[in-house]
Symmetry: C2
DNA sequence: TATTGTTATACTCTATAACTATA
DNA sequence: TATAGTTATAGAGTATAACAATA
């Protein structure tokens, strides 16, 4: 591709070049749409965003309340309420930890896993828009995202 | 680039190919980091995410309460409270609309614009990670995102 | 009658601090 | 004493419904 002029400034400098600014803008758009899509998919399953995120985590593996808080980047006291509400609906259960009786391990129930799977499948964004890209473009996008995320 | 085998299924079909799944996963990562970064940048300015978004909108142009709700994709009743809190801090003001006395136009104050500018500059994510990409990669990323967003 | 903004209400998420039961 | 989870509390965002002022 045309790499005619060398970038005059690093992108970490105070005034990013127009290209970087546009990419930032576009990423903001993607973030907004993704978020919107996630919330509405959750709502279709009568879940809030936080509940959907927690349930999706537990769908991979059971976790102590403390670890859940770390993963969700919130205070442990909040996890109590979210798990309470999911447990009341039979999507999650609390199990004792034989090794440490202070610990409670949260785990998705069979129905919880079913709901999480359905939720995952109803996530349309980032799948439909991707359909417009060729395989080569998807590879390029993947590589750029990988490098961005370190 | 290698386009050896034709993609067996459309990306909108029930079972997306591994490449598409990975890109979805990566976008999810980007969304999470961006969101986190935005919230913490807002918090540095003693703003909530919703307040920061509303203020940023008003920084571009004054808007009636109703339009603000549409832009923020929430109910008009919520906007009342968010604007109340920003107005109490002198970052936003309500103006009458001469053409329609039912309407109140919200506008950023001078200080509001200053805070919004500072907020925008403290958004590190999507700028620092982008620094790791070559210009060619940023162009490829831009083009892919543009096409994704239609 | 319809529309704009607001108020009232209820629920969820959030952080902080204090509490309990274990370790 | 230190840690895991909970409870209590308060602030903010959200949707719904009802309301006053204006069109």
């Amino acid at each position: 591709m045309a790499s005619t002029a060398p970038t005059p400034q690093s992108t970490t400098s105070r005034r990013p070049d127009p290209l970087t600014l546009e990419v930032v803008e576009l990423i903001g758009e993607v973030v907004a749409r993704f978020h919107e899509d996630y919330e509405s998919a959750a709502a279709e399953h009568a879940l809030t965003g936080a509940q959907a995120r927690l349930l999706s985590l537990l769908c991979l593996e059971p976790l102590p309340m403390r670890r859940l808080a770390q993963r969700l980047k919130c205070e442990p006291s909040n996890v109590t309420g979210i798990v309470d509400r999911l447990e009341a609906r039979g999507l999650v259960e609390r199990r004792p930890d034989p090794a440490d009786r202070r610990v409670k391990v949260a785990a998705a129930t069979e129905e919880g896993r079913r709901v999480a799977r359905s939720l995952r499948e109803s996530l349309r964004f980032a799948r439909e828009p991707l359909a417009g890209l060729s395989e080569g473009e998807r590879v390029a996008l993947r590589d750029a995202l990988r490098r961005m995320l370190g």
